[in-house]
Amino acid sequence: MRWLDWYGDGSLHVLEIGLACCALELDAAALQVGALPTALPPAGRVAVVVSGTVTDRLAPGVVALVDACATLAGRPPVVVSLGACASSGGPYWDSYAVTKGVDALLPVDVYVPGCPPPPEALQAVLDDLRVAA
């Protein structure tokens, strides 16, 4: 879990909650754009990207992490649900162990469909967030 200064100019900081395969797509997108790990800056836009399957066992940890993110940043982060598992439970919606989407735990602002979504799909979402009002 690390803060990524996504564009290298402080315009958007991303916290990755990397739980499963979709985390690799976020990492590929980070490599493509040259995102740099940094300490959290005092101001600017912050996004949390939940990448992968949320199991019931890990769900409290995900909530604690997003809460801590909001506290540390002093502002609520934009929450992005990357991939089918984070969006709805995906192919594991019927599992005894899986939370049916991270939106069962906290509000999600953007849902990115895919299994996994290509890095370009996440990049497009972050590009929109960077310039959003």
């Binding site: 192919p91 939106d103 999600v108 849902y111 469909p113």
Partner: protein
């Protein structure tokens, strides 16, 4: 919406080929395909022919928040009514918006 350089793309519906047979909805492992249909008498039969009915598709919906893009539906359709599409499904502000009906699936 241009196609991405990578990824699995998406799935589109060829509406004129669909017979509402339900095979795709039954084979989908994620249960993400919803189909409604009704039956109608076949029109314009020759004189004296026995009355027949056909299925008419009313609603075909894929919930992209569930779909894992496995392509089983494309493979299983006996009538080639589903096909791979290079463009990826766009992100959305809510999971409900990711339920695409016939209009979005045939665009």
């Amino acid at each position: 919406m241009s196609g991405p350089a990578s990824g699995h793309g998406s799935i589109r519906l060829v509406e004129q080929n669909c017979t509402s047979c339900m095979v795709c909805a039954r084979e989908c492992p994620s249960w993400c395909i919803t189909i409604d249909s009704h039956t109608e008498p076949v029109p314009d039969l020759p004189a004296g022919a026995r009355e027949r009915t056909r299925n008419v598709l009313d609603r075909f919906e894929i919930d992209w928040s569930l779909c894992m893009y496995c392509g089983i539906c494309v493979e299983e359709c006996p009538f080639d009514a589903l096909a791979w599409e290079p463009a990826h499904t766009d992100a959305a502000p809510s999971a409900l918006v990711l339920r695409h009906g016939i209009d979005e699936l045939t665009r």
